[in-house]
């Protein structure tokens, strides 16, 4: 299993990479860690004519707390201006899963990202795969997408006509499809520092691939008396794209966070959603797992001390 022939470039700057994408149009494909793209190319499910490898571009692999935007960022219009008033974390698109997993800053300021990164595939993939690659690839079972949605992240894309910010909620548009134009590159994800929130990520996944049959990321802010003040839930693996489970969120807001209430609310996780069916799970089984894992993830976030992560044995 060898990929079809392609031209390969490893530009040293973002501008050079953008020029290559513009020159090659639909034929070009961006390569980051390659942990998702290369298998597809070997199976000839993807046959790009030109591969633009971003991994030699400096500055895209970093994790920063960005209360004050760095000089370069001040020019960038951010539609959600109020967000910048709060402390923000900036994660470069080429940051590796293993760096997210091990980041002391993220463990304190945004534990959902390390929790989710540590549930991705296996150590080999985590050593090589990037967060930007994962988001831009938009696998319907991508783990980081669920976290980005639950965190209400904002994604920065650069293209020939400049930069723009895309809310995670508008980023995943369909099966392996995002709001990125073919000549745009995802360069950064921003998330707020989480104060007073607890988080977790849970997924059901077969051992060999580690791809979620159902994965649920939760950000929860508890009110007085163990009630749910605010909650955001990102779901992956269930349908053609990762999505926010608004129905469950609405059902929980203001309610006591007891098991019976959570389980009942979690029933709505896949309501109105087309459920994927494949060799790993029938639609009914997948919907069942989505409800169970939604309930477990919410309870995990409630208990806060429960570590997130992977459930296998399927």
């Amino acid at each position: 299993m060898i990929p079809a022939a392609f031209e390969y470039s490893a530009p040293a700057s973002l501008d050079e990479a953008l020029a290559l994408l513009s020159a090659h149009g639909d034929e070009a494909k961006v390569l980051a860690g390659g942990q998702s793209l290369l298998p597809l190319m070997k199976l000839r499910l993807a046959t790009p004519g030109h591969l633009v490898d971003l991994t030699r571009i400096p500055g895209l692999n970093r994790i920063e707390q960005d209360g004050v935007p760095s000089a370069g960022d001040q020019r960038i219009p951010v539609p959600v201006a109020s967000r910048l008033q709060r402390p923000m974390l900036s994660i470069g698109a080429l940051t590796l899963y293993c760096q997210i997993e091990e980041s002391t800053l993220l463990r304190q300021a945004c534990p959902l990202l390390p929790q989710t990164a540590s549930a991705v595939a296996d150590v080999q993939v985590r050593n090589r795969g990037t967060i930007g690659g994962s988001l831009a690839h938009a696998d319907p079972a991508g783990d980081m997408a669920a976290a980005a949605l639950a965190l209400d992240a904002t994604l920065r894309a650069v293209g020939p006509s400049g930069e723009r910010w895309i809310p995670a909620a508008e980023f995943f548009t369909g099966f392996f499809t995002t709001a990125l134009a073919p000549d745009e590159i995802l360069v950064e994800m921003r998330v707020p520092v989480l104060e007073g929130w607890t988080t977790t990520y849970r997924k059901a996944a077969p051992r060999a691939s580690g791809f979620a049959i159902a994965g649920v990321a939760v950000c929860l802010r508890k009110g007085p008396d163990e009630t749910c003040q605010e909650i955001r839930i990102g779901v992956t693996g269930v349908t053609e794209r990762p999505f926010r489970a608004h129905a469950v969120e609405d059902a929980l807001r203001g309610k006591p966070l007891v098991a019976s209430v959570i389980e009942e609310a979690a029933e709505a996780v896949a309501e109105g959603v087309w459920i994927a069916e494949d060799v790993r799970a029938s639609a009914a089984y997948r919907a069942h797992l989505a409800r169970i894992y939604a309930s477990r993830a919410i309870q995990g976030a409630r208990d806060a001390d429960t570590p997130g992560g992977l459930s296998t044995g399927l």
Binding site: M1, G34, L38, K42, Q124, R128, A208
Partner: protein, 168 residues
């Protein structure tokens, strides 16, 4: 594009502390580069789609699946394969412990298991059984059953804890 002569890219890569310079096609996978171009057949090819871990090697000190890396991406970097673990004619403690604990049968998965265990022990010199199982989750073995493999890694951890850093 099929009829044209393929464009080749220069790859300068250190493998097991030896420098190599070769010309490769963009689509050449690191695993095939190691095995076919350099003749280092200790790195095995299993699934070739990133699910079995048989092709695991260290790239700049971190374990990766060499079937999920292009050879061109290794340009300027350092690779360690199973052939690079022996020192002065002696096997690495992980290799020794896989033998003494019966951590292999056919041996197909073994180079990948050992390189992955090496990465694990470098980050976590005193792993629990859970740490070992979690660390080896990307490496599949069809014959041994994982008990002996876990024991082999645990034994090597003990040996390495008392050994010179040069071996680690």
């Amino acid at each position: 594009m099929t009829s044209e002569a393929p464009v080749k890219h220069a790859v300068r890569v250190q493998v097991n502390e030896r420098q190599y310079e070769e010309e490769v096609e963009g689509r050449r996978l690191l695993v095939h580069f190691l095995r076919e171009t350099l003749g280092l057949t200790g790195t095995h090819v299993g699934c070739v789609v990133g699910e079995c871990g048989a092709c695991s090697v260290l790239l700049d000190g971190s374990v990766v699946k060499s079937c999920l890396v292009l050879a061109v991406q290794a340009d300027g970097r350092a690779v360690v394969t199973i052939e690079g673990l022996e020192r002065n004619g002696s096997l690495h403690p992980l290799q020794e412990s896989f033998v003494s604990r019966y951590g292999l049968q056919c041996g197909y998965c073994t180079p990948g298991m050992i390189l992955t265990a090496l990465d694990l022990l470098a980050r976590n010199p005193r792993p629990t059984e859970d740490d070992i199982r979690h660390g080896l989750a990307g490496n599949l073995c069809m014959c041994t059953g994982y008990m002996q493999i876990v024991e082999a890694v645990r034994e090597a951890a003990t040996v390495l804890a008392g050994a010179t850093p040069d071996l680690a």
